[in-house]
Each structure stands twice: as C-alpha cells, then as structure tokens.
C-alpha cells in the first residue's frame, strides 16, 4: 500500500518545542518547512482521540511555525489600510481581528490576524506563506513603517471547553483570565514569563492563543500540560477540528485564485472598505460585491462513510459544478464533510450534489457552515 504523502528531501527546520514533542511521542512530519507533530503515538493519542479530547477537554497545539510580525512607525494606520481591507478606525486595542492580504488583482495571498498594540500592530500570518507575506508587505509599506519579524517568539494554542479552567490555574496578570471574552487579548504571566494571550483559535471551541518567548516555550508548555485537562494535539486533529468548524485553510480553501467574495469571507472586508475601497485588490472585491461571482465556497455533507478530498470534482447530474478544496471524515458527526467551490446555481443549502471519488459518485448536499457549532466565550 502507499500513502499519498511525500516528504521531499529539503532542509527542514526545527521549532523550539521539537524535542518536547518527540519526548511525548510526537510523530514528526514536514509542514510549512518545519518538523511538526501530526499526532502523538501514545495511549490516548492518534488523530481521532486527539480530536475528541479537544472537543471535550482541552488540547495544546504548537503553532510556532506561524509568522508573528510587528508593524509600527509614522503613518502605520494608513499604510496598513492600503494593504488590508480592514477598518482600523473600528479596531479597539488588544482584540485580534481576522483580515486578509490581497494581491493587486484581489486574489488572497494569505489570511491573518491583526491586533492593535499600544505602539503598533501585531500580525499573525500562516507559516507556509510568511516569507512571501513579509516580502509583499515590505514592498507595499512605506519606508517610514517598520516591520519586525518576531522570530524569537513561539506560539501555542489551548483549545476546548476546559481550556479556560486549565489556563486560569497557571496564569497571573493584572486581570483574571476570565476578563477575556472571545477575540479579546491581554498581557499575562505563565511560569513567571510575560506572554500575550488572546481568546481565539482555529477549532471552533473556546480557547486561547499564547505568544511567548521561544526560550521559555518548554517551561510554559510543561506548565500547561501539567493540568489534568490538557493533552498535546497534533496537526492531524487540528485539520479535522478546523474543517468541522468551517474555517478555511490557506493553500487549500484559499488561494490567489479566490477573493474574499467567492470565499464567502466578506466579514474580512470591513464595512467602510466595501464602499470606499482604497486597498490593494479593491477593484475586484468591489466589482464582485456589485456583480456577484460565478462560484462560492460552500460546505458539503456526504452520505455514507467514504471521504472525498481536495481536488475531487462535484457534479450535478452530468454537469461538473465545482471542486473540493478540503474534505475528510468528521469525527464529531460520524460522516464525511467537505468544503468546495461550486457554481452559484448549486450553492444553496439543501442542494443535492455528487462527488466523484475514483470514478465512484458519492451523494452529498450543501449545508451551512460551521458543520459543528462554534462554542466561543462571548
């Protein structure tokens, strides 16, 4: 048998918690240029068990491959609004907001989080795209604006219904951790180390993202994992969790072919920017807002147990009407789910479609996302 996975012999980098993962049975694979744990080969490990653990307790994810940037300087607000479809006038301090980097044609170069700090803006971008993102930003930001790659930072996420109880026990700060609602952030201390915590994540569960100095990553990961609610979780479950939550994955569900309009992520284009434009790629976004797009990103629920994956074609009768960009078995729902771009005429919830998997047609229907309800702490 063969797995549809190939690791090319390129130089793969290690992250601050590399040995920490290996010591805990992490099966390391290459992802975004780094060795990262896809799952943990221990009692209670494996993608299904880790997925279930996160949905019922709390899972600790190492996402240190992601790019943390700090952008500041004279005129930074106007400069950022020229490259992001964000309205910084409505962005209060310390709360992250979802946004996108668009190219001049309105295609999505990356999706990211933007937080206003006292002296500038903190951005978290995807690992696989971070080098290109930095090049793009540097090219389009004026010289007066400084961009710092915070490469000495690690990033952890603690996700799940028990995340708050577990994290509260190891956190001190000016405010209790419970002062943070969904999409709010603040400075705290864990194991005596200053960290930045926001109540956000990529699983649909309540949870937190924690930016910290790389040199303290092991001590902080140990302190969090010492809580009985917490287990480390690999990339495999991260992917099945985000898919159930209806959250797109860059490089799969999002790419320069797509815009925030056909990706159905219009909330990333803040209201004022939808009329005023003035950001890179605005021509396409405003035109598509007015005229519509031929396709859009939808959720599909499959019958049976056989999963369909990225690249599988979607049919209505003999007519090809779309392509899957993500797909897999939903452990929570017990059946396969997928995201696809499909023609507008077939994008309404309830529409019956078929997915071609190796010449076999699997029955599916369009369903609203998220597939599994979000449980954010609002």
């Amino acid at each position: 048998m063969s797995e549809a996975e190939d690791n090319e012999e390129i130089e793969v980098l290690t992250l601050p918690l590399d040995q920490w993962h290996r010591a805990r049975g992490g099966r390391m694979v290459e992802f975004a240029g780094y060795w990262m744990p896809v799952q943990y080969n221990v009692e209670g490990g494996g993608i299904l068990a880790e997925h279930e653990w996160t949905r019922t307790s709390a899972g600790l994810f190492d996402v240190s491959h992601m790019g943390q940037l700090f952008i500041s300087g004279e005129g930074v607000e106007a400069a950022l609004e020229a490259v992001l479809p964000i309205d910084l006038g409505t962005l209060k301090p310390f709360g992250p907001r979802y946004s996108m980097l668009l190219d001049e044609h309105g295609g999505i170069l990356d999706d990211l989080m933007v937080t206003r700090w006292n002296s500038g803006f903190y951005l978290v971008v995807n690992g696989a795209t971070k080098w290109d993102d930095m090049g793009h930003l540097r090219e389009h930001l004026p010289d007066e604006v400084t961009m710092t790659y915070m490469e000495d930072n690690a990033l952890l996420a603690l996700q799940g219904p028990q995340a708050a109880a577990a994290l509260e026990r190891v956190t001190t700060g000016e405010w209790p951790l419970s002062a943070l609602k969904f999409m709010k952030g603040g400075q705290f201390k864990i194991a005596g180390v200053e960290v930045w915590i926001s109540r956000s994540g990529y699983t649909g569960e309540d949870g937190f993202e924690i930016a910290l100095p790389a040199e303290s990553a092991e001590a902080i990961a140990d302190a969090i994992c010492a809580q009985p609610e917490v287990q480390p979780i690999g990339l495999g479950a991260r992917d099945s969790l985000r898919l159930e939550a209806g959250l797109p994955l860059y490089g799969h569900d999002l790419s320069p072919e797509h815009s925030p309009v056909d990706a159905d992520l219009l909330f990333a284009v803040n209201k004022r920017r939808r009329t005023e434009g003035g950001f890179l790629g605005a021509d396409r976004v405003l035109r598509e807002l007015a005229e519509g797009t031929p396709q859009k990103r939808v959720g599909l629920a499959l019958e049976g147990r056989q999963a369909a994956r990225e690249g599988a074609e979607v049919y209505s009768g003999d007519q090809k009407v779309g392509v899957l960009t993500s797909g897999g078995f939903s452990p929570t729902l017990g059946h396969p789910i997928a995201m696809a771009y499909v023609d507008m005429a077939h994008a309404a919830p309830g529409t019956a479609l078929e997915i071609d998997v190796r010449g076999k047609r699997l029955a599916a229907r369009v369903v609203p996302m998220p597939f599994v309800p979000h449980r954010y702490y609002r």
Binding site: M1, S2, E3, A4, E5, V38, Q39, N41, G46, I47, L48, A49, H51, G236, S240, G304, R305, Q306, A307, R309, G328, F329, P331, P336, R358, K360
Partner: protein, 123 residues
C-alpha cells in the same frame, strides 16, 4: 498456510490457490484511525500491483495493492460497520479480501515474516 509480505505493507496468506489479503500492523500504525474501507466486489479480476481496495483514514486515502493476480472471491463485510478492525486486528479479523490465485509463481519475490520484520526495522 504460508504468509508473505510486500514492501508496500500488505500481507497475503496462501493456502493452495486460495489467498487472503490484508495490511500489516506497521501499515495501520502509519495510517492512523481508519474510517472506511472501499472493498472490491466478488468476481473482480485483479492483476498483481492493481489497487482493488482503498483504505480511508482520518488523514488520507491509501491504495492497497494486490500482492498477486487472481479473482476476488469475497470481501470482509465486517469492515462496513467496523472499519476500525483494520486498526485493532490488521493481521486477523481486519483482513480485506480473499482471492483465487491465477499464478502462484508471482509469490516468489515476496518476503517471509522474518524478512519483513527486518525490512520494517530498517525504515
């Protein structure tokens, strides 16, 4: 009955012209949690190296190659309701399909258990 192994991590039990095919414990460990097995129908003609069966895990869909040519006589129907048998008992109750062999000579290049264990240890 003799059990042979392939470099692609299938096993095949041979009893005269009758054979049973599955994936090894090493293979199921690599695949992770199996959620579905697409089994061949009885009567399907397979050639050595064909992929008449697909094992779906949470991670990926993987082909299972037939270690020998012949005709499928039966698929493991228990896997329809319990695909996880391939994880819990890959070299027993989690077998995949049976076939009648058309050329027993094709088995010559396969490994025995000792050779396969050595092969896996070297991976």
């Amino acid at each position: 009955m003799t059990r042979y192994f392939t470099q692609d991590h299938e096993w095949i039990d041979v009893d005269g012209a009758h054979a049973t095919v599955g994936i090894t414990d090493y293979a199921q460990g690599q695949l992770g949690d199996i959620t579905f097995v697409d089994l061949p129908a009885a009567g399907t003609a397979v050639k050595k190296g064909d992929a008449p069966c697909v094992v779906d895990s949470v991670k990926a869909a993987s082909d299972v190659y037939s270690p020998a040519s012949g005709e499928v006589t039966e698929a493991n129907g228990a896997l329809d309701g319990e695909p996880e048998l391939v994880n819990t008992d890959p070299e027993g109750a989690g077998w995949l399909f049976k076939l009648t062999l058309s050329d027993a000579g094709e088995l010559d290049g396969l490994m025995d258990k000792a050779a396969y264990d050595e092969f896996v240890a070297g991976l």
